[in-house]
Amino acid sequence: MFRRILAQCQKELAQFRRDRLTVALAFLLPLGMMLIYGFAIRLEAQNLPISVQDFDRSPLSRTYIARLFATNQFIPVRSGESPTDSLDRGDAIASVVIPPDFSRKIKADKDVDVQVLVDGSDVNNARVVQNSIRATTNFFIQTNQLQPPAERSVDAEVRLWFNPGLREALYIVPGAFAVVLWVFPSMLSAIAVVREKEQGTILQVYSSDLTSFEWLLGKVMAYVVVAAGEATLVMGVAILLFRMEFATNPLPLLVGTFVYLLSSVSFGTFIGVRSSNQNAAVQGTAIAGFLSSFLLSGFIYRIDNIPFPLSLICNIIPARYYILITRDAFVRGTGWIGIWYAPIIILAIGCLLFLVSTKIMSKMQLKE
């Protein structure tokens, strides 16, 4: 039996090698996607454009403005006629209005209001802007000795672990591995399965004494080999480009990646046996695979924020567990302690997908 599976696997690899375009896409697409994620996605709010209307034009108001832009979080843009102009045009995300009596009132020890209009459409940025303008104002008050500093009787001594420099690539890149290695291996194996159906070569399989189990296992093995090549390429390039380093011994990552690829390829065969043509198969893997691994895995947005019925789906998404493994390997570094269960769940989901695929296929097979 094992010889037949191996032969099937070799046949599949030979077929894959012959299709030059698919080989090229199989390696270029993951690499391209990896680079886009690694370079372009930044969640941290920076360079937020802000317009200031200074009706006071005093040394004090200028100091205040200088304070605002001293942190490099904001960049100044020109304001229009009214404070909302720059917001309406989308040039600025916030508009600060300093009243004409700003310095006069401060010198007279009276309260003064600085008005801040914030474009609330991007919620995250809006909150960041609000907090940092408030913090800047407090800092301005303190540094200009406008008020005795409040006596602080409790102090929080905060320590950041694992990623003290808060480098965002350290967070994004391990997550991108999970998306890329879920979408592309599954797409390739889905095409491989459905192509035989479309071209009718599957009839030969039916008439041979090959079981659906052997047929599919041969395919899965072949594409796990291809996927392992993709994984090596993607991780190698990412490690070089984004200066990633192993934080722990790489064995959990190796084991985890192997079962994840197995699971990913099985997902592809599952979609493949369910669809009748290549289009449906590719769309199925692209849409279902992409949405689940991108959105419901905690790659960019925290799983804790996903509302109830959707959050249940998160638990059966292998990408979610693989992200734990990659982040542990490259950032956290606890080794098996923190993630021992992740490869087991991934393997279980993969086996389930594979067995369901063989079930579906064997139903289609001719009975003797």
Binding site: I36, T137, I141, A150, V154, L160, I287, P307, L310
Partner: protein, 374 residues
């Protein structure tokens, strides 16, 4: 009435009717037009939430006094933190942060109450899991802010700050993250569905060879292509209504701008998406190739558009590249018309960019098609 009859008897009309019949007969096509957009809008709309709330907190309270409990309740008051574990030993707390069970750990020392009573500075220790750089930064900010606030309230009369910052949120006063994401997702859905549907209809005829048959008919090349595009346009406008309907009913988007403008620019963007799909179809020979290449184009188009990740935070190079992304302009227009409702003037540059992309994409792909056909 003569021109209507002439139009109904024209080759264009006959071809367009044939095209519509073909599309309606194809169940997969109808499914493609209805199912993925709905699911994408619902899942993306509900799942994308960048706000930082419900951070899991582990509390190790050695002090066990009224003051320490007050500090903990100050932290959990606004749903920013919630207590997940309350270990008895420091090693357990450290282990919880290490393994990722909790994102933040708080240690309140035994002398906490005494220090406050003595007027000394009481120190609490906070550990934060920095794996998620963005969340960690925000968590650390919240933590310090809440502790500062708590500390200030201990000094009986908190002094009024001399300079107040009065913050008002425009356009989205409730700070609903769905209001931000859903207009972006609408554009994303139109891009995916539009380019895919149009590339598939064209490539299928090329694949099966029926395009050659069409060429034998007395219709001109432009008539054939126009008859292909027009029904697709009408069907995809159906997707625009579907998306707007979901936005209104499920996500309660305000639609502050002029709805007619929204339809017009959405129509323009549908043309861009169809042009993109046609271009992909001329670049590929088989269906498999076209879906793979569309994936190759769609991922950067979506990532650089600002629909899911903010453009302001991207490195300068990508901020510049994003201007060449038609989806960026559509998302800007949709957000403006849905959330801001400022009138047409601020979005004119974006509209001009869309028109430019529509003309270039359609022009190039029609030319390439003609070259391939003859």
């Amino acid at each position: 009435m003569n021109w209507i009859r002439r139009f109904l008897e024209s080759r264009f009309w006959a071809l367009a009717v044939k095209e519509v019949q073909q599309i309606l007969k194809n169940k997969q096509f109808i499914f493609l037009l209805l199912f993925p957009p709905t699911i994408q809008l619902l899942i993306l709309g509900f799942a994308l939430d960048p706000s930082v709330t419900h951070l899991s907190l582990g509390v190790l309270d050695y002090s066990r006094t009224e003051e320490s409990r007050e500090l903990v309740s100050a932290l959990t008051e606004n749903d920013i933190f919630w207590v997940k574990t309350a270990p008895h030993r420091k090693e357990n707390l450290v282990e919880d942060v290490r393994t990722g069970t909790i994102t933040t750990g708080l240690v309140i020392p035994p002398e906490f109450r005494q220090d406050i009573a003595d007027g000394k500075t009481a120190k609490v220790q906070v550990f934060i899991d920095g794996v998620n750089a963005n969340t960690a930064g925000i968590a650390s900010g919240y933590m310090q802010q809440i502790v500062r606030e708590y500390s200030r309230n201990l000094n009986v009369p908190p002094p009024d700050p001399l300079v107040n910052t009065q913050v008002r949120f425009l356009y989205n006063p409730g700070l609903m993250s769905t209001w931000f994401f859903v207009p972006g997702v609408m554009g994303l859905v139109l891009t995916l569905t539009g380019s895919l549907v149009s590339s598939i209809t064209l490539i299928r005829e090329k694949d099966v060879g029926t395009l050659e048959q069409l060429l034998m008919t007395p219709a001109a090349a432009w008539e054939i292509l126009a008859a292909k595009i027009a029904p697709l346009f009408v069907l995809l406008m159906g997707d625009v209504f579907l998306a707007a309907g979901i936005g209104l009913v499920v996500f309660h988007l305000p639609f502050r701008g002029n709805f007619a403008w929204f339809l017009l620019f959405s129509g323009l963007y549908v043309v861009v998406a169809i042009g993109l799909g046609m271009l992909l179809a001329t670049l590929s020979k088989t269906q498999q190739q076209v879906v793979l290449t569309s994936f190759f184009f769609n991922v950067p188009i979506i990532q650089l558009s600002g629909a899911v990740a903010p453009i302001e935070s991207m490195p300068l190079f990508f901020r510049v590249v994003s201007f060449a992304d038609p989806l960026r302009h559509y998302v800007a227009i949709a957000r403006n018309l849905i959330l801001k409702g400022t009138g047409i003037e601020p979005i004119l540059p974006n509209a001009a960019a869309l028109a430019f992309f529509a003309i270039v994409l359609l022009g190039v792909s029609i030319n390439r098609f003609r070259a391939q056909l003859s």
